[in-house]
């Protein structure tokens, strides 16, 4: 069986092929690309907070704070 046809079970017992999973990932990247600029910057600030605390990057400046 080709790797991409491997089925996996996701949330709610849904069966999905690996190929479909990759496609959905790709789709979600594109959806995020279409978010308003302001929303993207909010996400960036969350990423900076994660890098600062969880990633222990203490030299990261969390924007606007």
């Amino acid at each position: 069986m080709e790797d991409k046809n491997i089925k996996i079970v996701t949330k709610g017992g849904r069966f999905i092929t690996l190929k479909k999973l990759y496609e959905e990932h790709q789709k979600s990247h594109k959806e995020q690309a279409n978010l308003p600029f302001e929303e993207k910057i909010k996400i960036l600030i969350d990423l900076q907070k994660i890098a600062y605390s969880w990633g222990r990057k203490k030299d990261v400046i969390i924007w606007g704070e």
Binding site: Q26, A33, I41, A51
Partner: protein, 168 residues
């Protein structure tokens, strides 16, 4: 970032810069999914073309920012309203990128962002690994005017680099 943009717009209004556009990672994020970055890169066109092409003075900008209370630095970045900012004097390709940047609004404040075609060209010119990742994201996630991109790549002799990137 809204207050930072407001202050940068003031620089333009006060005649300290002729024009500017957001580039770098934040410029890319305008067109792609968000990703981590530390700073805001601003490509600026100076009021006067520097007489000596080898020396560009940015201190009038920093003097002004200091006067209005922004004198904190971290590395090469000046902190403007809580955001580390780098001013990059635009010339050649980057100057054309600023001139052709998209006018937009950020939270009701007018600003300009470099278009994906110019961002790809600038990133291609820089050519670091992290730039290549951004080019890939732009090609996959942004709407690219391929005709426009080809014209820019031709003009700045970046065709070969682009082909190498595509074939990589």
């Amino acid at each position: 970032m809204k207050n930072t943009i407001k202050i940068i717009n003031k620089l333009k209004k006060e005649g300290l810069i002729k024009d500017y556009a957001i580039g770098g990672a934040i410029g890319v994020i305008r067109w792609t999914e968000p990703f981590f970055t530390r700073d805001l890169d601003l490509f600026i066109i100076l009021i006067q073309e520097p007489k000596d092409k080898e020396i560009i003075f940015l201190y009038p900008i920093y003097d002004y920012l200091e006067k209005i209370g922004y004198n904190k630095w971290t590395g090469q970045w000046i902190i403007v309203a809580g955001v580390p900012v780098e001013f990059i004097p635009a010339e050649g390709l980057s100057k054309e990128a600023v001139e052709n940047a998209q006018e937009t609004e950020y939270d009701g404040v007018k600003t300009k962002v470099i278009t994906p075609e110019y961002l790809i060209s600038l990133l291609l010119k820089a050519g670091r690994d992290k730039d290549k990742i951004k080019i890939k994201m732009l090609l996959e996630q942004a709407k690219i005017d391929m005709d426009k991109l080809k014209v820019i790549l031709n003009k700045y002799n970046l065709n070969k680099k682009f082909q190498l990137f595509i074939n990589d």
